[in-house]
Each structure stands twice: as structure tokens, then as C-alpha cells.
Subunit: 254 residues, 2 copies
């Protein structure tokens, strides 16, 4: 019997490991970024100006470990794996961030492509990366900067059989809170991507004959912004180790 | 021949008067709120948490009078009438705010119901307030507060013939950047509104037999927040005297 989001969060709090892909089917998962209050305006303006890669689900009150997205949750302990960043450099990958939590922390929870992956699967699209991470690439597109925060857009790529390209575009366009419609279809060069076999994050894709590469804005853009902007202190989820929310996924008719 | 948004803005800059209702048909108009930088985070979080009354179209860079919503525009001069607020009290209603502009100003431009009024008119809904302002009411619903900014929700009301209620709901639901679907249909008491004939803002409505009152979240909520939160200094548009953008209105099929 599948565990509920609250049970899974309690499990991570008690020491269970991730990743979270495939857990709590039917519920949204979220990217996490925590910054000190003096960077919160810059980040909030950045995510507001770049809703495709960074669709905000919640911003916490300063100092609060709570979010209405997960009743009874504690953002310091309820993800299976975190990353701690100083001056844009990864310094630690702990299972709990109580020891580095600051009282002026502000947490941003943003939509994750796991949500549209399940909508695409329900619509009959083949799942080309069982047991692997989706391929992600840095692009040549600058996000709209906000004060001190800036980044190039990061995209995820899914190989889609040509006959299903229109379906994949249409379905994801209906889920703006999970990155929305593709940013590019079929031409990696337009995004400055030279070699699909060498993604910047995740695993190399499995392209079959007749597959078209489709690119979507990716939540990893926000981690790229931590690095590019050299934010003095930040906490994020570790890739693939998301915050599991109580919020049901949207039901999109295929 | 109708004037372009840029020509109209230049006219206001040169001293032409408003209001702006009906001007530049086909282009979005926007509510304006300007606050000093030390209140910008609170306001940005408030509008983010309350997208129905406050659908953000743009947030300017600190100190900038420019917005990409209006090429070549100057937010200090390009609206026909402004309001200046100190500690939540209205202190002045000038046609230009150059004399009170602060170098740490941040401007918020949010969606306006003029956009959905034109979509409703195209869909065959009768226009019940020619030459009048729409009726607006304070409600008993608290918006989700953000740090120091809080307000009750303000709604606008349009009387709609019963047979067109579903059409009006459906069309406005498609325009989230102009307040989206109704917050209440047919029962003012549910919102704590006792007397439709006595709106808190705007003119009394013209209800005909068979009309159903439909309530939508209203951009005036943001001015109510200036008052309720006693923001030390703020500039807004004067009611009905909006910023005319270069952004085309969405074309919603009736």
C-alpha cells in the first residue's frame, strides 16, 4: 500500500533515504531553495520574472520551517537529502539541515517536472529513462535577472516519438506550475546545446530512431542561479530528492 | 482613429486627463503601486500569495521608472492621475509624481478588470455601467498576509443575466492575469456584503430583474493593503486612471 506524503516525510525525518521519484503517486513534489532574508527579495523577484523554470508553489514566512504544502512538515528534516552552498560552492550534502538552519531563513518551493512526467505517461508517452535521471543541459538563454540573482536557463530533455510531439506539447502547456509548454522542439543547437550525449546534469538520454528531442524549462535553473550569483549561503534539495507535498497533481485528460 | 498606447502615455505626460476606461481598445491596462525598496519584499510576497486580486504583470528594478510593459514610458508621468499615500492616508492626488519620486522606488504593475470587461462584452454580456465606475466592496475574507502587508479582499461586482452566468464564469476563468474566475456568485452575504446599493468604492450598481450579482477579486485590494498595513509611503494610480500598456489583451473565444 503506497505511503501518504505525511508518512513519507516522517520517514525521511526518521532517517529513510531517497530519491523520491515514483513515491506518493498523485501528489506534487517540489524543488527547495532556502536563502537568508537579505537575499529573499532578489530570489522572489527572480522566480517571479522566470515562472517557466521556477513556478513558485510557496514562499515561507521568514524563519518558519513550515509550509502549508505539507501539513505538519518541517523543512529542515523532511527531505531525504539536501545540499548546502556557500558563495555558490557546494560544501555539504546532509540528510538534515538543522545544524545550518538560520533564524532568518526564507524557503522557496517550486514546481517539479515529476508532475508532468506522470501526466505524459498517462497520455501514453514511453518512459525513456527507467532508473535513470532525466538529461539536463545549460542553455545559451539568459533568464531575466533580478537584482543580484541571475542565471542561464537550464532545460530538461525528453526524447518523444514524432507522432506524440503534439500531445506532449499540449499536455505540458496545461501545467504551468510544472514548467508548462516546451521551450524548444527538435533543435538543440538553437539552445546552444552541442552534444545531447553529454548533459550538464543527469544521465545521457536514450534516443531511439524517430525520437524528437523536446526541451522544457527546468527547476535546476534555480540551483544554477545559486552558483552563478554566488549567493553567500543557500540550502537546496539534492537532485531527485524532493519535498513531497500534500497537494494533488492536476488531472489532465490525455 | 484610436491612439496607440505610446501616444496616449505621451499625452498624459504632456498634461491630458483621464480616466482611461475605453482607451486603447485591445491593450491591457494596469494598476500601479510604488513603494520604497524596504517595503518591496513584503509587497512582492503579498501579491505572490494573492494572485487573484493582484496578478502581477511587472515589477521594476529598484529606482527604475521604466517597465517593459510600455516601451519608452516613464512611470512618474505617464498615468493621467496618481494618488500619494503616507502612513496609509491619502495625502495628494497629482497628475505627475516626479516631485515625490524616491530613488529607491519599486513599482508593481498588476492586471486590471478592464481586460475582462472587454472579453465579456465581446461574449454578449450587457454593459451595466456606461459612464459609471464598477461597484466594489470590502469583504470579510482576509487575504493571505505577507510579513507587514495584509488586507481584506476587495471585490468588484457585475450584474449578469442568469442565462449568461456560466459564460461569464468560464470566460473570466481563462484570464488569470485579470483576476480569473469569480470568487462568489449570487450570495453577497457569504462575503459579508450587507447592501449592494452601498459599495465601498465606485458607483452603486444597476441591477435589473433576473440579474445575478457576480463577484470577482479586485485590484483595489492592493490600495486597501496600503491603508490597512499603514505603508509609510506609497504611490498608486487614481481609481480608473490606469497605466496603458503595449501588451495586447488575450483573445478569448466567446
Amino acid at each position: 500500500m503506497p505511503e501518504t506524503p505525511a508518512e513519507l516525510r516522517a520517514g525521511f525525518r526518521a532517517g529513510a533515504g531517497g530519491p523520491t521519484s515514483g513515491l506518493a503517486p498523485g501528489f506534487r513534489q517540489a524543488n527547495l531553495l532556502i536563502v537568508p532574508a537579505d537575499w529573499a527579495y532578489d530570489v522572489l523577484l527572480f522566480v517571479h520574472r522566470n515562472p517557466d523554470p521556477c513556478p513558485v508553489l510557496d514562499v515561507t514566512d521568514t524563519g518558519s520551517r513550515r509550509t502549508p504544502l505539507g501539513v505538519g512538515s518541517d523543512l529542515r528534516t523532511d527531505l531525504p537529502l539536501y545540499r548546502v552552498w556557500r558563495d555558490g560552492l557546494l560544501v555539504e550534502e546532509p540528510t538534515d539541515v538543522t545544524h545550518v538552519w538560520r533564524e532568518d531563513s526564507v524557503a522557496f518551493l517550486t514546481g517539479c517536472s515529476f508532475t508532468f512526467d506522470s501526466a505524459l505517461t498517462r497520455a501514453g508517452l514511453p518512459w525513456r529513462y527507467p532508473g535513470r535521471n532525466v538529461a539536463m543541459y545549460r542553455t545559451n538563454r539568459e533568464c531575466r535577472a533580478a537584482s543580484r540573482v541571475h542565471s542561464r536557463l537550464v532545460v530538461s530533455m525528453r526524447p518523444v516519438p514524432a507522432a506524440l510531439v503534439e500531445t506532449a506539447s499540449r499536455i505540458t502547456a496545461l501545467i504551468p506550475a510544472s514548467h508548462g509548454a516546451p521551450v524548444q522542439i527538435g533543435d538543440p543547437g538553437k539552445l546552444g546545446i552541442r552534444d545531447l550525449e553529454r548533459p550538464d546534469f543527469g544521465d545521457p538520454p536514450q534516443m531511439l530512431t524517430g525520437d524528437v528531442p523536446i526541451f522544457w524549462a527546468c527547476g535546476v535553473t534555480l540551483q544554477a542561479a545559486v552558483v552563478a550569483s554566488r549567493i553567500p549561503f543557500a540550502i537546496t534539495h539534492a537532485p531527485g530528492h524532493m519535498f513531497i507535498t500534500d497537494v494533488p497533481e492536476p488531472q489532465i485528460a490525455p
